[in-house]
């Protein structure tokens, strides 16, 4: 009897640590596969450093045949910026969830964007703090029930979902690459991530890719409802597509001014 065809996995995929540690239906595996394919396509396995945050993203600490460091909640980007500044020849990937990127690590994100740090940041947005049991995240949709918004998120009290890529696109200097992809379109997501790595390789500036993702465990959804939430509910708040290419300037107020100093 014919054995079902094995799906093709990226070369950086570490077989010894599979099956991976994520829940069934989790989007992390898809995002990581897209990242792996992008690394393969650019042939940068030997010089890529993968950094993962706290939260479910930490479960990727042994996912790849890549030198990897698992850091603290929200602190992955500073660690990788530290590595990049010390060893510019390396390619650094900062991988985290929406809580790490937009709440506890927001100041690092804003500062790295302003500095146009040569780092490729991938944020997996599943609208909840998943590892800790499904609390409200900065990305939780208005009306969405979580453990800390059991009656649904009230935007008047707790704000609206933060728009990470839009924030980075507004403030990063020219040279930045910013996109939002989704696990619902793997080819496009891989493409965005590859462009983000390319941006770092060319030394142009920061690369920031958010990936809309799923958490059926904490959403308490079946397969159909999970996909419905990712494809319809989330994209209503979080439009998918490229927000900044390296040639474009910031979408926020920005004026190119020559370097200035005090008159001596």
């Amino acid at each position: 009897m014919a054995i079902a065809a094995q799906p093709q996995m990226p070369r950086v995929w570490r077989a010894e640590t599979k099956p991976h540690k994520f829940c069934p239906g989790c989007g992390h595996g898809i995002v990581l596969k897209a990242l792996g394919e992008a690394i393969d396509a650019l042939d940068i396995q030997e010089r890529t450093i993968f950094g993962c945050d706290i939260g479910c993203s930490l479960l990727s600490w042994d996912f790849f045949n890549l030198d990897t460091v698992q850091t603290h909640h929200g602190r992955t980007t500073p660690v990788l910026v530290g590595i990049k500044r010390a060893r510019p020849e390396l390619v650094v990937v900062s991988y985290m969830g929406d809580g790490g990127a937009y709440a506890i690590g927001a100041q690092h994100l804003v500062s790295s964007a302003s500095r146009n740090d040569l780092v490729t940041i991938i944020v997996v947005n599943n609208t909840v703090y998943a590892m800790t049991g499904g609390q409200m995240a900065p990305t939780t949709l208005p009306g969405q029930k979580t453990e800390t918004t059991p009656y649904g998120r009230d935007a008047r009290l707790t704000g609206r979902p933060i728009l990470g890529p839009e924030l980075v696109a507004a403030i990063a200097p020219p040279g930045a690459y910013v996109a939002r992809g989704s696990i619902a379109n793997i080819v496009q997501l891989k493409n965005f991530i590859q462009k983000g790595l390319q941006n770092q390789l060319e030394g142009r500036g920061i690369a920031f890719i958010e990936a809309l993702s799923s958490c059926p465990t904490n959403w308490h959804t079946n397969a159909a409802a999970t996909w419905g939430f990712v494809e319809k509910e989330m994209t209503a708040y979080f439009p998918v597509g490229e927000l900044r290419t390296p040639e474009e300037g910031p979408s926020g107020r920005f004026q190119e001014v020559p370097a200035r100093g005090f008159q001596s």
Partner: protein, 350 residues
């Protein structure tokens, strides 16, 4: 030169590759001098958005195999502890220069010895760190160089615990190339970004600080604790003066030990049998050396610009010994030899 300038020169002489820093008084001039020298000697610098980032970027620089360091004080030292806890867990040879200021909270930008507890035991762990407390500019130079060597040799986060007085005061100092004095700099090696294709030519470096099981964590911690205990006798340092027949042993660290020593000299001149003991390493603490000296004395006096942070270490180290321990405890205040002598007589310690 000033102490902050000494630290910058020491880091340069030690071959430090990169500094990550965030402004806080009284540490600032370490960055000021470093940023002036760094481009001339092809060294790096990044001013980060806060001390959290400075600490973690230092962790990154070290992971990349470079002599990376940072410097901070007071509230910045608090924020730095998060990254240093990671360094402690993962055995990363970070170097942090602390210039103590008044505390708690914002307090003063001037001086104190109130960051002993934080620097020795900060973080949610066991305090597996090396902490040097220099007392002069010559020592500031020497122990900043030594901090890089101890960090990379033993792989525990290493601190130079200075203070605002040492940072700002000027005194003569001899700076030197470590090699010329026979000090070989401990080589650095990268922990990520190794050569060879990971997974094919070698195993990938998979570095983590998270564990699933109690047993797993226990094994990692006990390995580190046993290694720390094994290296402690090689790391531990102290200084003594006139201790052999001392009836009163005055114990102080850092800049205060200069006042303590001067007080002992003054007491000796008047025929009083006083001696002085100074822990140079606060972590590990030289309790084994102090114990027999303390046992011989009639009184112990701990002098510090904090309310008992050193005294607690002394008492813990001498547990079971019956020699009475008195404290001259002046949190956030400078201490003169005259004050110490006056206190000794007022309390009839000799």
């Amino acid at each position: 030169m000033t102490g902050n300038e000494v630290v910058a020169w020491a880091a340069l002489a030690a071959g430090a590759d990169i500094m990550y820093g965030y402004p806080i008084t009284p540490q600032n001039e370490i960055m000021h001098y470093w940023t002036r020298m760094a481009p001339k000697y092809e060294r790096g610098f990044l001013q980060t958005e806060d001390e959290i980032s400075a600490g973690f970027a230092t962790v990154g620089g070290v992971l990349a195999g470079k002599r990376a360091f940072t410097a901070t004080a007071g509230p910045g030292n608090i924020l730095m502890q998060e990254a240093m806890a990671m360094a402690e867990m993962m055995r990363l040879p970070t170097v942090v220069v602390v210039t103590q200021r008044g505390g708690p909270s914002t307090a003063t930008v001037i001086y104190s010895q109130q960051e002993l507890n934080l620097t020795c035991f900060g973080g949610n762990g066991e305090g597996l760190r090396i902490v040097y407390s220099p007392s002069s500019h010559d020592e500031l130079f020497l122990y900043t160089i030594k901090a890089f060597n101890s960090a990379w040799k033993y792989r525990f986060p290493t601190f130079v615990l200075g203070d605002g007085y040492q940072s700002k005061m000027r005194e003569p100092v001899t700076i030197f190339d470590p090699e010329a004095r026979g000090i070989t700099m401990e080589p650095c090696r990268p922990m990520v970004g190794l050569s060879g294709l990971p997974g094919e030519e070698r195993d990938p470096a998979h570095l983590r600080n998270t564990y699933n099981l109690e047993d797993e964590l226990y094994e990692v911690l006990m390995t580190a604790i046993k290694e720390y205990e094994a290296i402690a006798p090689q790391v531990v340092e102290w200084d003594t003066y006139a201790v052999d027949d001392a009836e009163l042993l005055i114990i102080a660290h850092g800049v205060v030990s200069r006042a303590a020593r001067a007080a002992v000299v003054s007491l000796r001149e008047r025929g009083f049998k006083a001696g002085y003991f100074r822990p140079v390493t606060l972590k590990p603490f030289p309790a084994e050396t102090l114990r027999p000296l303390a046992a011989r004395a009639r009184n112990l006096l701990v002098v510090e610009s904090a309310y008992g942070q050193l005294k607690r270490q002394v008492q813990a180290g001498l547990y079971g010994l019956e020699t009475p321990v008195t404290g001259y405890l002046r949190p956030g205040m400078g201490i003169t030899p005259e004050e110490i002598v006056e206190f000794v007589h007022a309390k009839e310690l000799i």
